[in-house]
Symmetry: C3
Subunit: 311 residues, 3 copies
C-alpha cells in the first residue's frame, strides 16, 4: 500500500513509492493477459472520472482499469456537468464525495486543481492532467515501459523532445526519470524550453541530430512530445514544416541513434509532424506498449490508493 490517499504529482513521490507502483503494475499486466481479464479486488468501491477537459485515451484507460478491478465507475464530463450552471469545481467534488465516491480521477485545464480537491476532501484524488503542470500516471506508465524493456531505469540516457514548455507530460516524465536515476536531456527550440530549469538537473540541447548521435552518449530512450498545432499561430515556432524538419523524428534521423533505442510518445500522435509514420509504427516504437501499460499502471494506482486487499 501507499501511505497516501492522492496522486497529485511525481514531485511528491519517493523513489521507493514509484518502485512499489511499478511492481504492482507488473501483476496487473498479467491479469490483463488472462482470458477473463478481471479481478474482484475493488468490488463495491466507487471511482469517478471527473473530466473538465476532453480526453478519450486517458478517460478510457482509467475506466477500464476501474472496471477490471470490479469497481463501479461513473463518468462525469463538463458537457453534462452542472459546472455549466456555475457550480464551483470544489462544490461539485464535495458532492461526489458525499455520494461516497472513494476516488476521483480529475482532468482539469488549471494547474493545481487536483491539489485543491485533495486538501479539501477525504476521498482520494488522482491527477489525470492539470493544465501544463503534471500528468503523473503518464510518467509512471512511461517508467514502466522503459523498465520492462531496459530492465533498469538508473543510468539510462533519455531525450525528451519537443514542446517542453507547455507539456505536463514532459514535466512529469523528467521528474520521474531523474528520481529513478536516469539522465535527461531536453531537446527543442529555445522558445519551447522553460526558463529557470537549473534545479531540475537536466541537460538541454537545441540540435536534435547532435543529441541523437553523440559518441558514447547515445540515448537509450527518445520520448517525442505531441506538438499542439496551435503553437504556430502563437509564434512559438516559425512553421510546422520548419519544426518538423528540425525536431521531427524521421527514419533518417533515427538511424543516428543506437539500434536498440526505444521510441516513445504519449499520444495522440501527429503523424508527419513530430514523428514520421514509419518510425511510429517501426521496430523501435513502443508507443502501443505504453497504452497497454497505462491500464496496468492505473489499476495499480487505484488498488494502492484505495487500500484494496489482494484477492
Amino acid at each position: 500500500m501507499l501511505k497516501r490517499k492522492d496522486l497529485l504529482a511525481i514531485t511528491e513521490l519517493a523513489p521507493d513509492e514509484i518502485t512499489t507502483i511499478l511492481d504492482t503494475a507488473v501483476s496487473f499486466k498479467e491479469v490483463m493477459a488472462r482470458d477473463i481479464k478481471k479481478v474482484p479486488t475493488l468490488r463495491g468501491k466507487t471511482v469517478i472520472n471527473l473530466f473538465v477537459e476532453p480526453s478519450t485515451r486517458t478517460r478510457t484507460s482509467f475506466e477500464l482499469a476501474a472496471k477490471r478491478l470490479s469497481a463501479d465507475l461513473v463518468n462525469v464530463s463538463t458537457s453534462t456537468s452542472s459546472l455549466t450552471k456555475g457550480e464551483s469545481l470544489l462544490d461539485m467534488a464535495k458532492n461526489l464525495e458525499a455520494m461516497r465516491a472513494d476516488l476521483i480521477v480529475l482532468r482539469h485545464p488549471v494547474a493545481g486543481a487536483p491539489h485543491l480537491l485533495a486538501r479539501a476532501l477525504q476521498c482520494g484524488i488522482i491527477n489525470a492532467g492539470d493544465g501544463a503542470h503534471e500528468h503523473p500516471s503518464q510518467a509512471l506508465l512511461d517508467l514502466f515501459t522503459i523498465r520492462e524493456r531496459k530492465k533498469t531505469l538508473s543510468g539510462l540516457r533519455v531525450l525528451l523532445v519537443g514542446d517542453i514548455l507547455h507539456s505536463r507530460v514532459a514535466r512529469s516524465d523528467l521528474h520521474a526519470l531523474r528520481k529513478m536515476g536516469a539522465e535527461v536531456t531536453l531537446v527543442g527550440p529555445a522558445t519551447m524550453i522553460p526558463r529557470g530549469i537549473e534545479p531540475w538537473d537536466v541537460q538541454v540541447a537545441y540540435n536534435f541530430d547532435e543529441a541523437l548521435g553523440k559518441e558514447n552518449q547515445k540515448p537509450d530512450v527518445i520520448i517525442m512530445l505531441r506538438l499542439q498545432l496551435e503553437r504556430q499561430e502563437k509564434g512559438f515556432i516559425p512553421s510546422l514544416r520548419e519544426y518538423s524538419r528540425l525536431y521531427g523524428l524521421t527514419m533518417a534521423r533515427l538511424r543516428r541513434a543506437s539500434p536498440d533505442v526505444l521510441v516513445m510518445h504519449p499520444g495522440p500522435i501527429n503523424r508527419g509532424i513530430e514523428i514520421s509514420p514509419d518510425v511510429a509504427d517501426g521496430l523501435s516504437s513502443v508507443i502501443l506498449d505504453q497504452v497497454t501499460n497505462g491500464v496496468a499502471v492505473r489499476m495499480a494506482l487505484l488498488y494502492l490508493l484505495m487500500g484494496g486487499k489482494t484477492e
Copy 2:
C-alpha cells in the same frame, strides 16, 4: 413494496408510502457505509437514465444508486440522442422498454412528460424533474434528512425560501412536508410566489427576517432554493444584489433563528447569492447530508418500484 410502478409526483403518494420509502432508505444508507457498498439485490435488472435536460448531480445519484444495487444502468442524454433526429420522446421510451428496460429515470424540461410515459408504458418511470412541476426524489431525500436529524416530521416548522414560482423542488417539498404534518411557510418576493396557492395550506411571508425570528414560531428547518441567475433579466427581481440582501441566508440572518435550525439547499448552490459560504459550510448546514441521503433514497425507490426481493 410499493403498490405502484411509477414515482411521478409527491401529490400521488400516501403518507404511509412515504414512510415506507424513508424506512427502506435507512437500511440502504447503512449499505453505503460498508467497506463493500454494494448488494446484489437488482442483479439482471436494467435501469435507463433518460436525461433530456443536463444534470450531473441527479444523474450521478441515480447511477450510483442503480450500480450499488447491481442493476445494469445505461445513460441516454439528448446530446447523443436520436431525439435530435426528430424522434418523439414517447417513441424513444417505447424503444427503451422494448429493449427490456425495467425502469426509466426521466428528466425532461416539460411538466407532465413522465406522466405521459407512465401511462403508455409497462415499465416503471421515475420523475427526476419535469419542468417547473415536481422533483419527487429530491423531496423524499429532504424528508429523510430532516427526519434523521429531528426524529419526526410532524409539527415541524419549515421555511421554503426563494423562487417558489419556478421551482419544482419547492413544489415537491411543500407537498411532501404537508403530507407528513409539517407546517410550511413560503418566503420570497411577491413576483416569485405562485398565485392560487390557497389549496396548498401554507403560509406566505415576504420578509425573511420576520419569518426567521418570530417569537415561539421560529423555524426548525430552512430550505433555501437555488436562484436561476437569468431571473434578473426576465424582470422577476430588480438585481442579484437586491435579491441577495433581502432573501440571501447570511450568518447575521441565521443568528435570528434557533441554534438547532437545519439549513438545507437542493444544490447546486450559488455561493454569495441565496446563501453565504459560511452558512453553506457551517454547523447548521446539512447540505452534503442531503447529497448522501439522495443516493440512499434513490436506492430505496429503485428497489421498491422494481419489486426486488431482499438479499
Copy 3:
C-alpha cells in the same frame, strides 16, 4: 462459433452463418425474458462502443447486449473523443486494442471505415453502420423478426420502401433477404433507387399501391425506410407531402395488402411521413419486436465473435 473475428457486411456472410446467428439469438431472447436477464458468458471481456456518428438506439442496444452478457462496456463518442484533436480513426482504434479491447462496435459516417479497422487490428470489429454502405446487425434482427413470425425466410415476398439510395439498412436488408431465399422488391421514387442494381437480383416498383396489391403476389413483409428529412432540400423529392402521399404507408394503403402482412421499420420513425401513426402502432406492426430482437441478435453476435463458451 463463427469462423471470423468481424462482422462488416451482410455480403460476406454465408447463409449457414446467418442461420447460426439467428439460432443463437433465439436462446438469448429467452435470457431476456427471465427475471434476472443476465448471464456470465462474457465476464472479463471488453467491448468498446466507438460511435463517430450520433445514435441512441443502436448504441444502447449494443450496450445492453454487452452488459447482459456480463462484458465490460465502454462508450467512446466523438464529442468526448481525441478525434477532435486530429487523431486518426485508425490510431484511436489501435489504442483501444492496445488497452485490450476484445471487440469494437463502430459507427462511422464513411463507408468502409470498419473494414479499414478490421484489416489492421487483431480485435473484432462490428460494423454498426458505415455511411450509406451497410448496417448488418439491423438486417440480422430484421431476418430474426420475420423468421420468428413467418417461420421461414425462403420464398417470402418483401417490399423495401423508400429512400433505397441513401439507406445502409436497405442495402443490408436486401442482401440478407436474397441470401436467405426471399424475393425483394424495391419501391420508391426513381431518384431514390440506385443505378446498376441488376446484379442484386431484385425487382423495382415505382408505384407503391400496385406493388402492395398485385394479385397472387402480395407481399408477406413491408419494410418501410426512414426518410431523411433533408432529402427535400437536396432535390430528391418534390415535397414531404408529395413523398408521403405516394410512398407513405397509411391504413388505407395497408388494406390493399394481405391481412397477415408484417410491417417493419428500422426506426426512428417519422410519424405521418413514411408511416402513419395508426399503422406504426397497429396490429400488423412488428416495429417494437424488431427493437427487442435487436438486443438478442447483438448478444448472439458478441457471443459468437468473441468465442465465449456457453455457461
